[in-house]
Amino acid sequence: MPSANVKIPPVLRSQTGGEAQVPAEGSTVGDVLSSLVDAHPDTREQLFSEDGQLNRYVNVYLNDEDVRVLDGLETAVDDGDTVVILPAMAGGR
């Protein structure tokens, strides 16, 4: 099973015990995120809506590419890939 490094944004770190990067297994981006949610259940409602879809305000990148232009949650993951979870930030002051 391929293992990816999932980069956790600051606003989700309280749900991952403060970890900024978490290893998670899965052969697709969706599987990797499911592994993350299994290990850190508090991340579920931030990432997924009730019908299991990725929340629209969460961007997910496989390496440097937005999964929306790849195959979404079905996008295949290779061992050692990086999955970036990115919600918008607004702080400027």
Binding site: A20, R56, D66, V84, P87, A88, M89, A90, G91, G92
Partner: protein
């Protein structure tokens, strides 16, 4: 230390050199003078009527410009090393009466002889911006573009402070500042344009004082107001580039939608904790803010720096990256962050670059989005509602 073996001395010993006073007399009588300095040096100032051939092009072009090898030719550069080498080369090429001007244009200027200066720069500006004009990519032309540029900064806070200081130093001719807040002591950990003795002063006025002390070339326009749907078009229409350092989502979406309508480029950054994000949005050339973030996060996932804290140095870095984008946009050099989102993690000192694509279905800049009719130009949706935020924070915690 110079010695007899110094090749430059050997060159100067075997060619003819004339003092600048004699050169001035000869030029007045019609002797032709060739300036062999580089383009940017020529642009800055040169002798009236001089022929400009950068030293590397002399061998190739001299034939055409001076077909008669017996013609008297004066050659000068900044001082006289390059000109001496060129005279040496000309004599190898068969020119019998080429001479170098001792001390070059520096000596010429010292004697008080007239020069043609670059259009648009005063002698004080040539001095102040010399480290810019020395860069061939910027040159006098790029500096004049900066002096003519109008840049609007949204927020004179954590991002806007460093951006404004460096843009002012760079000679951006007009800097507009939108902020309705006053300087608070808790701002000073990162908002470096403000000072302890200006606590309680309007941020726009405080920033204006700092900018004017730094560079009198800059005109500061204070917009001591909060950007909203009723004033945004009027505020941004006169500016060439908008710098987004807003502290809330409704303003960011409003700004995006308005700048796409008016086709203004936006350099957008945000900061929180130890991390920052930055991208540049050029309407219709690249993605817009909504292509990147179609939907704002719920308020509990969007804490402010006031609630969450922010590392001051990191804010400074992101602000300077914004200033860097602005300079490139204004001068027209380099590659902007259009189509790229740069993430900075100051704890790890790591940068991550992500691709941002134009969304063909974007409700604002997408391929099928109808043009906004002129009469609806100033009408915007309710962004507070869209972002699920309270109507308005009582006072920005900043």
């Amino acid at each position: 230390m110079a010695s007899a073996a110094d090749p430059m001395d050997e060159v100067k010993a075997r060619i003819e050199m004339i003092p600048v006073t004699e050169a001035q007399r000869e030029i007045a009588q019609g002797t032709r003078v060739i300036d062999v300095r580089e383009q940017n040096e020529w642009d800055e100032s040169h002798l009236e009527g001089a022929i400009h051939i950068p030293q590397g092009e002399v061998a190739e072009r001299i034939d055409e410009l001076a077909p008669d090898t017996s013609e008297r030719l004066l050659v000068h550069c900044r001082t006289d090393n390059r000109s001496a080498r060129i005279v040496d080369l000309l004599s190898e090429l068969g020119y019998e009466d080429a001479v170098a001007v001792e001390g070059g244009i520096v000596a010429w200027e010292r004697e008080g002889y007239p020069l043609v200066y670059a259009k648009g720069l005063t002698p004080e500006q040539r001095d102040r911006y010399s480290r810019h004009t020395l860069l061939p990519e910027v040159g006098v032309e790029g500096q004049v573009a900066m002096l003519n540029a109008k840049v609007l900064l949204l927020g004179a806070g954590g991002l806007g402070s460093p951006t404004a200081l460096y843009l002012a130093a760079a000679g951006i001719g007009t800097i507009g500042l939108v902020d309705d807040d006053v300087v608070d002591a808790s701002n000073l950990q990162r908002q470096v344009i403000h000072t302890t003795d200006r606590v309680g002063v309007a941020k726009t006025a405080s920033a204006k004082a700092a900018i004017e002390a730094l560079n009198p070339d800059v005109t500061v326009v204070e917009h001591n107001t909060r950007l909203d749907a009723s004033n945004i078009l009027e505020l941004i229409e006169d500016y060439d580039v908008i710098v987004d350092g807003a502290d809330n989502f409704p303003t960011r979406y409003l700004l995006n939608d308005a700048t796409v309508r008016l086709r203004k480029p936006v350099v957008s950054a945000s900061i929180l904790g130890f991390e920052g994000q930055i991208s540049t949005f050029i309407p219709y050339e690249g993605p817009c803010y909504r292509c990147l973030y179609p939907t704002p996060p719920p308020p509990e996932l969007a804490p402010s720096c006031g609630a969450n804290g922010v590392l001051g140095v990191m804010a400074g870095l992101m602000g300077l990256l914004q200033a860097n984008e602005v300079v490139k946009l204004v001068v027209g050099i380099g590659d902007t962050l259009s189509g790229r989102l740069l993430l900075y993690d100051s704890l790890g000192t790591t940068f991550t670059e992500l691709k941002v694509r134009r969304d063909p279905d974007c409700p604002i800049c997408g391929d099928h989005t109808p043009e906004i009719p002129v009469e609806e130009m100033g009408q915007f949706p309710d962004y507070e509602l869209f972002c699920g935020a309270p109507a308005r924070e009582p006072s920005p915690v900043a």
